[in-house]
Symmetry: C2
Subunit: 153 residues, 2 copies
Amino acid sequence: MRLTRAGEYAVRCVMCLARNGSAGNVVRKHDVAAYGNIPPHFLAKIAQQLSRAGIIEILQGARGGYRLAVPPEKLTLLEVIEAIIGEIFLNDCVVRPESCRASSACAVNNVWLQARDQLRQTLAQVTFAKLLEEESCCILQSSPLQDKAENTL
Amino acid sequence: MRLTRAGEYAVRCVMCLARNGSAGNVVRKHDVAAYGNIPPHFLAKIAQQLSRAGIIEILQGARGGYRLAVPPEKLTLLEVIEAIIGEIFLNDCVVRPESCRASSACAVNNVWLQARDQLRQTLAQVTFAKLLEEESCCILQSSPLQDKAENTL
DNA sequence: TTATATAAGACAAATAACATCTTAATTGTT
DNA sequence: AACAATTAAGATGTTATTTGTCTTATATAA
């Protein structure tokens, strides 16, 4: 495993929506990108993955944008991350037994399996509601969107 | 983080030495490579890293090869892996705070830190002595080296 | 119908992982 | 001393993955 930048962007994206759009209002892609310091076109792809995973909703057209499809209390870090990078694993052996002889009976492999389960559990215990309480996700403290909100031109 | 193939090879290499060379006898690079199914030239580089980390000793010249520099009871998975892939971390933020604003006060970051510590602890608890007891590291069950041992030519 | 948004996927660039090759250097053996 | 066996060191090449951008299409509100 490895939290790729895409995974990190996804977390920021969801944090942004949880904060600004939790009441069901839509946040424009552009604003999410600015908030999370995410290249806009890259965000588009990430959003699509999150949408396919049922985590966010994408609204097209004028006044379109993104919004959470799941309440923050029910959304965990693990879900968001695995939506982007696939199911977490630490080494090949665990996921592709062909890649190594002895596969199952391997003592080392067992350690990896255990470590991986533990990691996934840890991430599954953290909801975005919890994160919101503790505030700020790799992001400026000050209230977001405030100067680019609503009115451009 | 992610256990790269190099990391996996390193583990196999050490397992091979722990099994065959634990009494202090030297195992030839060629044999380690065959045992662990490791491309020989690649093994050379991995061995050099293990050697620099003080985990194995490299003996040059005719009848040269590798041997463990540390008793298997004192050698952990974590040490071997980090000798190859560097200190384990799960995301950039944790290691390079510049890579993201808000750094320290970040709730998400704290989760990563915790998960990472846990992972490292798990790996630090597993010694190669323990692994040896449980036998076989991604490797054939049958006794190793037996047909290529000692006498070529 | 037009302006504002995002979708979708092709494309390009950067990085990292994996592997090999070549030219030394080292050591035991004769 | 010379030779054979063996690894060192590092340059180089290949492939895969990640990250990012661009273009063309599509959807929606006004």
